[in-house]
């Protein structure tokens, strides 16, 4: 039998998800007539540029970066909402495009969105919102079974089974995000993409949701791709961490190591820029400048205009990824062991 199932041991060690040199460009050209009049060509925005990472089963990889760095685009590529312009994403070793075509594989990944006010249909009862994926994948047939199942999902996220009869507007932001999580879990996925799941929530509610997500991960053995701009949240959630800047991953490795010994100058500046509650009153070191437009990224290393270590080479040559211990860094200065320009 050529399609024999792989031994359990092999499956357990293979990464749940792998991205290999994935790029994605958006067409940002002006309308045809305007282009002709101005005699200009098509313009494209490279939102994600040759990004590679892998997520072992049962762990969390976080992608962190400022607005426009491409982290949400990666999230959408991974669940198949966008198709990569180049490169390949593999889900359990299978190309994502093939995996998406198979309902039993598609069922195993789901997404939690940022804004629980926008991601739940206001005209649907909570029961129907959560039941939709179950129905789509035909996991449960009878209405009675469905009711039990939705009730169990609601209890799992800390709501009451009776809440299924209510509409989304009857819930607070935190409770709505619990509903989103219940919906994401309803098809029994093993892999969840969480795109800023708590950034619309207040800090005390954020703590509830983060605790719930960690708890569900332990209980159900979930694998997360976690997208956030909040470094403290990322610190709390991640096993591994990727720092993104202008569509590229500039540093990737174990979260503990990156937080304790950041190597890339951008990671260092980012960590220095967070207010520190342990030492209130301490002034931050502000990073100079802002993220440049991804439509016209600077040549060479995209970070060089803001980098304190940038030299002539950084301005012309895009740094390749180099491995330093468990961490992969894309920086000429780190590679050369330089501490100044």
């Amino acid at each position: 039998m050529p399609e024999a199932p792989l031994p359990a041991l092999v499956v357990a060690t293979a990464p749940m998800l792998e991205a290999i040199e994935v790029s994605h460009s958006f067409d940002v050209s002006r309308p045809l007539l305007q282009r002709l009049l101005a005699r200009e060509g098509r313009a494209s925005l490279r939102a994600v540029d040759a990004v590679s990472f892998s997520i072992p089963r049962g762990t969390t990889l976080s992608l962190v970066g400022e607005s426009g760095c491409g982290k949400s685009t990666v999230a959408r590529l991974v669940v198949g909402l966008y198709t990569p312009s180049a490169g390949e994403i593999r889900f359990e070793g299978k190309p994502l495009s093939a995996a998406r075509a198979q309902p039993d594989l598609r069922r195993r990944m789901n997404m939690i969105f940022q804004d629980p006010y926008a991601s739940l249909n206001p005209r649907w009862r909570v029961h129907d919102i959560i039941a939709e994926p179950i129905r789509t994948f035909g996991i449960v047939r009878s209405a009675v079974e469905m009711r039990d199942r939705v009730g169990a999902l609601l209890s799992q996220v800390g709501l009451a089974p009776a809440d299924g009869d209510k509409y989304p507007h009857e819930f607070s932001g935190g409770q709505r995000q619990r509903i989103s999580i219940a919906r994401a879990l309803s098809s029994e996925p093993e892999f969840l993409v969480c795109d800023e799941p708590t950034s619309a929530l207040d800090v005390s509610v954020q703590a509830q949701i983060l605790n719930l997500m960690r708890d569900l991960q332990t209980r159900l053995g979930l694998t997360y791709l976690f997208i956030s701009h909040n470094l403290a949240v990322v610190r709390h959630m991640s096993d591994r961490l990727g720092v993104m800047y202008l569509g590229r991953i500039v540093e990737l490795g174990p979260a503990d190591e990156i937080f304790h010994a950041p190597r890339h100058p951008y990671t260092r500046l980012l960590l220095d820029a967070i207010p520190d509650l342990e030492n209130p009153g301490r002034s931050r070191t502000p990073v100079g400048g802002e993220v440049p437009s991804p439509i016209a990224p600077p040549p060479g290393c995209p970070f060089h205009p803001r980098c304190p270590l940038a030299n002539a080479r950084c301005r012309v040559e895009n740094p390749a990824r180099t491995r330093a211990g468990d961490v992969v860094v894309a920086c000429h200065a780190v590679e050369e062991g330089r501490t100044g320009p």
């Binding site: 400022e66 800090v203 703590a207 509830q208 983060l210 709390h236 301490r282 002034s283 931050r284 802002e290």
Partner: protein, 331 residues
């Protein structure tokens, strides 16, 4: 005497289903040159407090009680015209979104000179010179050239710098900054906070900094007021409130912030959510979520009580006030 004193400020919204009390007897003061942070979750009333002070409450919201004094003068009951003169001249404002604060149809130079000339006697040339000075002060490169640019020609961080210049250009005594860095990325946020701190210190401006971000408060404010359900739960020096909170809500709030230095297994969480305005429980508003609530909390509302370095609206500190009063009478 404090520059700004707010005494028992109460704001109500009459609705068809009864009157909602959005601010309930809020009292605090800000000294000249002092930065008071106001922190709380959405709906706690922090932005509303700022809006009430500058007289920009959205109708049907209205001040139903209490008073606001700036430099000893009552400003909560002023007619629109004198209030308009105070707004801008004595009180500057910085809002969250620089795009909606700035007029997209006017150059930033025009917006700056117009603001200054409304409140100060300045010729066009003088105003322009001053405007360039302000742009330089807030760190806009090539200010003399950029003054004739429109808001859309600036990046988000640069735009917020222009807003800071606009708030400070009439040299107000007090600036109300409502979530000034929430729309910005963390690296730009640090730039704006540093700028705001430096400028207000140099000009001796008092600041009311409204934000939900405890980190921003921690590095910026001298004192902090923690709001919950339209009331002040705790107020005191920022270090004491962060390190040794006296109110169980402040304690829960601090515990729910993920630490950056190390990784914890579970975050401390406050179960439940803040009550809606039409369902604020009797007694202490925090009693349904409070792990330390006892009989008195459910019947009687605590006023701000002396809790050592800070003041907290919590009956746990009731004994202390008795003790301190006893001490005072013996002395």
């Amino acid at each position: 005497m404090a520059l700004l004193t707010v005494q028992n400020l109460t704001v109500e919204f009459p609705t068809r289903r009864g009157t909602l009390r959005a601010l309930d007897r809020v009292s605090f003061g800000i000294d000249t040159g002092e930065i008071l942070g106001v922190v709380g979750e959405s709906g706690a009333g922090k932005s509303l407090t700022g809006a009430a002070i500058i007289g920009l409450l959205e109708p049907p919201g209205r001040i139903a009680g209490g008073e606001i004094r700036l430099d000893g003068q009552r400003i909560d009951n002023l007619p629109p015209e004198p209030l308009r003169r105070i707004r801008g001249r004595s009180i500057g404002t910085i809002f969250q979104d620089p795009l909606t604060t700035l007029n997209p149809l006017l150059t930033i130079g025009r917006q700056l000179t117009e603001t200054m000339q409304t409140h100060m006697r300045l010729s066009d040339a003088e105003a322009r010179k001053k405007a360039i000075g302000w742009l330089e002060e807030v760190g806009i490169p090539a200010a003399a050239r950029r003054i004739d640019a429109y808001p859309h020609e600036f990046s988000g961080g640069m735009r917020q710098r222009v807003v800071v210049a606009l708030a400070l250009c009439a040299e107000p005594r007090l600036v109300i900054a409502d979530e000034p860095t929430t729309a910005l990325d963390v690296s730009v946020q640090a730039q704006i906070i540093t700028l705001l701190k430096r400028l207000t210190r140099d000009h001796g401006t008092a600041v009311m900094l409204v934000t939900h971000d405890m980190g921003v408060i921690g590095e910026t404010a001298d004192r902090v007021a923690v709001m919950y359900a339209g009331r002040i739960a705790e107020i005191g020096p920022v270090l004491n409130v962060i390190k040794h909170p006296a109110h169980p809500y402040t304690e829960g709030l601090m515990g729910s912030i993920p630490p950056i230095e190390h990784r914890v297994e579970t975050l401390r969480q406050i179960d439940g959510a803040m009550p809606r305005l039409n369902a604020i429980p009797p007694g202490c508003a925090f009693n349904p979520r409070c792990p330390k609530a006892f009989d008195r909390c459910f019947v009687e509302r605590p006023e701000l009580l002396d809790a050592g370095a800070t003041s907290a609206a919590c009956w746990l500190h009731a004994d202390r006030i008795v003790a301190s009063h006893a001490g005072a009478s013996h002395a």
